[in-house]
């Protein structure tokens, strides 16, 4: 019965789009509706209800793939595409997209509700709610898209909305610069992503089930209940490897993986709610979603898989090390996001796309919870500097509890959500290290990161909430936010506790089915002996991290490294983010800018110089020639005499010839 809703799936992105238009046009006049805030919340709520109903329908009748398309461009056969070429726009309701729909709409609704309270005192609210609604539209559209090109279209739109929202406080130069940086870096990924799409289009110009060809059907992901290109991959052809690497580049840009990770910490210049929605739960998850979609519907070659595992595993540890020393509450959580995305990428690369998405599902909730709790702290106390906070758990009970729950989920402590998914990733990757021994270093990096994760998140908790440090007296007395801020925190805490356990409900696990009704590897997690040992190791590492944090930072202690120790220089490197930004600036600002300046020089002095030189030449000639007209009569007489003399000379020279010609004597 609910399956009949699948045809109406296009309403889910349409409602926030309408909210965008309404708020954009009438926002400034709606002071009583929080300048359009409640409109956005309403649209998000209806979208959420519809999305949950669709997901419930998908759970009830699993393995139903409903794809509706509208062909908007159709070209006849030509040499590159032997069966024609069409472009479609449409929706695909399948287990994967339903799962993502839940994530996007639930977190989107809660964040919008929270924004009503958090952003109450800001300026430019209509712009904020309109842009958030547009973002929600784009993200839902991305999740529901049924072909690769439409996916890319919404991918770009999401990036644009991210630019708008990071630069929301555009009068601040750092915010404008951060928005530009985010857009440019994700753009690098996007261009490579587009290149990858083109390579795939070219390679599979005529592939597909008998009679149906990928290109002429519009590059759809699924045909019925099976991927369009089932079983075509596995061969390690160079072209497909390059295409896969390009897709990885696109995902790395959007999900802030190494080496395109530098934009995410700077993106914290945007409002905290934006960070919660975009840079924790949804947009950055789009990169992982892309990798999962490609791995399921198109496929990666073994070289690509190794590359993905390498990037994911490395980034996990890399980002965690930088989170350990940061002093800004939001930036620690940002690095944590990069690190957790590394886990997801690691899982997808190892061939466990659904396990990675399971972690994406739980991560969305507890990361959004952490960000919103941090936002509550910032709203209460007015600063983001960890060393200006302390002892807030007396004043902010709900926030403190929420942050603790999110932290426990992040660190992977059972029974909180993060434990189940992170553990599933680690044991899944471990299970294939036998056949892929080159995955070992990255698995070890991921496990080391578990310890650092527990440490850094509880360092934040202890610095913020415990102890009795005297705070900056000029800051206001902290108090909890209004109900619109506390309710999302409570709801998300519930998800952070229970989301992981949902996988064990068979109905819910239907959302993790692969095409054709195949159960995905690792879903639900199984617990053999090695798995239990690995889980215990993971919990021990996480708990060890938490205890270390308590030992160094709990109860008001502040841990300072001795000035001359080697750890201090290591710490400096970490604080400076491994000098990545400096390096990128050197490459970009110096190298590329020098090329630009050289080109500008050529343009100005060579090309323009030639033009100006010609102008000067004519100008000087005419200047000289103008002096003939001196106005002095004698000069004119002289010219006449000169002409006369010339005529005489000519006649002298040409005389005999002329006489001969004219004749006579």
């Amino acid at each position: 019965m609910l399956a009949s809703l699948f045809g109406w799936a296009f309403l889910v992105p349409l409602l926030p789009a309408l909210a965008f238009i309404v708020i954009g046009l009438f926002g400034p006049r709606l002071r009583r509706l929080e300048y359009g805030g409640w409109i956005a919340v309403g649209a998000a709520f209806v979208s959420m209800v519809l999305a949950v109903l669709i997901a419930l329908g998908e759970m009830a009748s699993p393995d139903t793939y409903t794809s509706l398309s509208y062909t908007w461009l159709s070209l006849p056969a030509n040499p590159t595409f032997p069966y024609g070429f069409s472009l479609v726009i449409g929706t695909l309701v399948d287990p994967l997209s339903s799962l993502m729909l839940i994530v996007v709409t639930v977190v989107g609704f809660l964040v919008l509700l929270y924004s009503i309270g958090y952003m109450h005192h800001e300026h430019g609210l209509p712009r904020y709610y309109a842009e958030l609604s547009l973002f929600l539209t784009a993200m839902i559209g991305l999740v529901l898209s049924n072909n690769l090109l439409e996916f890319f279209l919404f991918w770009e739109l999401v990036g644009v909305c991210s630019y708008f929202l990071i630069g929301f406080f555009y009068e601040k130069p750092s915010a404008a610069s951060a928005a530009k940086e985010a857009f440019l870096i994700t753009r690098i990924g996007d261009i490579l992503f587009l290149l990858g799409i083109f390579i795939f289009f070219y390679v599979y110009a005529s592939d597909g089930p008998a009679g149906l060809h990928w290109a002429s059907s519009g590059f759809l992901f699924a045909y019925g209940n099976v991927p369009f290109l089932a079983g075509s991959l596995g061969a390690n052809t160079p072209l497909l490897t390059i295409a896969g690497l390009c897709i990885l580049a696109g995902a790395a840009g959007k999900s802030a993986q190494f080496p395109l990770h530098v934009w995410l910490p700077d993106a914290m210049e945007g409002p905290t709610t934006v960070s919660a929605l975009i840079h924790a739960a949804t947009m950055v998850a789009a990169g992982v979603y892309l990798l999962a979609m490609t791995s399921i519907f198109l496929g990666f070659t073994p070289t690509d898989q190794l590359a993905i595992v390498a990037i994911g595993g490395f980034t996990t540890l890399f980002a965690a090390t930088m989170a350990v020393v940061n002093t800004d509450i939001k930036r620690v959580i940002a690095y944590s996001t990069i690190s957790q995305l590394g886990y997801m990428v690691l899982a997808v690369g190892a061939g466990f796309a659904m396990v990675g998405l399971y972690h994406l599902f739980t991560h969305a909730f507890f990361k959004a919870l952490l960000f919103l709790a941090a936002g509550s702290v910032i709203h209460a106390i007015g600063t983001q500097d960890l060393f200006k906070m302390g002892g807030l758990k007396r004043h902010l009970r709900v926030t403190g509890a929420a942050f603790a729950i999110g932290g426990l989920a992040l660190a992977g402590i059972p029974p909180f959500a993060g434990f189940w998914s992170k553990d599933d990733i680690l044991s899944s990757v471990y299970s294939v290290t036998g056949s892929h021994p080159d995955y070992w270093p990255f698995l070890l990096m991921a496990m080391a990161a578990v310890f650092l994760t527990g440490y850094y998140i509880f360092r934040v908790w202890f610095l913020t909430f415990s102890g009795d440090r005297t705070r900056d007296p000029t800051l206001p007395t902290p108090h909890e936010g209004p109900w619109v801020m506390q309710v999302p925190l409570i709801i998300l805490s519930g998800f952070a506790i229970g989301a992981g356990l949902l996988i064990f409900i068979p109905g819910f696990a239907n959302l993790f089915l692969l095409p054709g009704g195949v159960t995905a590897l690792g879903i639900p997690p199984t617990y053999g002996t090695t798995d239990i040992l690995l889980s215990a190791l993971g919990v021990a590492l996480g708990g060890g991290g938490i205890l270390t944090a308590w030992a160094l930072w709990g109860n008001g202690r502040i841990f300072r490294l001795p000035e001359e120790s080697v750890w201090n220089s290591a710490r400096t490197v970490l604080v400076n983010r491994y000098y990545f930004k400096v390096a990128y600036d050197a490459v970009g600002a110096r190298a590329v800018y020098s090329v630009a300046r050289a080109a500008d020089f050529v343009d100005q002095f060579v090309i323009d110089g030639t033009v100006r030189g010609i102008e000067q030449l004519f100008s000087r000639i005419s200047d000289r020639m103008r002096r003939i007209q001196s106005g002095v009569v004698s000069d004119y007489a002289a010219y006449v005499v000169g002409g006369l003399l010339a005529v005489f000379v000519l006649l002298l020279l040409a005389g005999p010839y002329l006489v001969n010609r004219i004749g006579g004597g």
Binding site: V632, A637, G665
Partner: protein, 110 residues
């Protein structure tokens, strides 16, 4: 009719033309410039008169002695007219600029 060598006459005429050109180019006083101009015209008239006295018979017109004389009379009249106009210009220039220096009249907008 005596026959004077052509060379002598032409030398005289050339000398007068040279004097005239020199005068046109270097005289600052407008009236002296007109005098120099007049000398030049007289040189031309002299040439016409000579060739009327010693006609070079190439065509029928040049054999007739009156051709040169007619041209000489016309040119004398022409010279007189031209000098009249020149003197009028000098008077006008003097009225406006207060000078007869040729170099002073170097602009169309006096």
């Amino acid at each position: 009719m005596t026959t004077l060598p052509v060379g002598d006459f032409l030398a005289l005429a050339s000398g007068l033309v040279a004097i005239s050109i020199f005068g046109i180019l270097t005289r600052r006083n407008f009236i002296l410039l007109l005098i120099a101009l007049e000398i030049g015209m007289n040189a031309a008239i002299l040439s016409f008169v000579y060739f009327a006295a010693f006609p070079q018979c190439v065509t029928a017109a040049t054999c007739h002695p009156l051709t040169g004389q007619a041209i000489a009379v016309v040119v004398i009249g022409l010279a007189a007219t031209e000098v009249a106009v020149g003197l009028a210009i000098v008077l006008a220039l003097h009225r406006i600029r207060g000078t007869t220096n040729v170099a002073e009249a170097n602009s169309l907008h006096l």
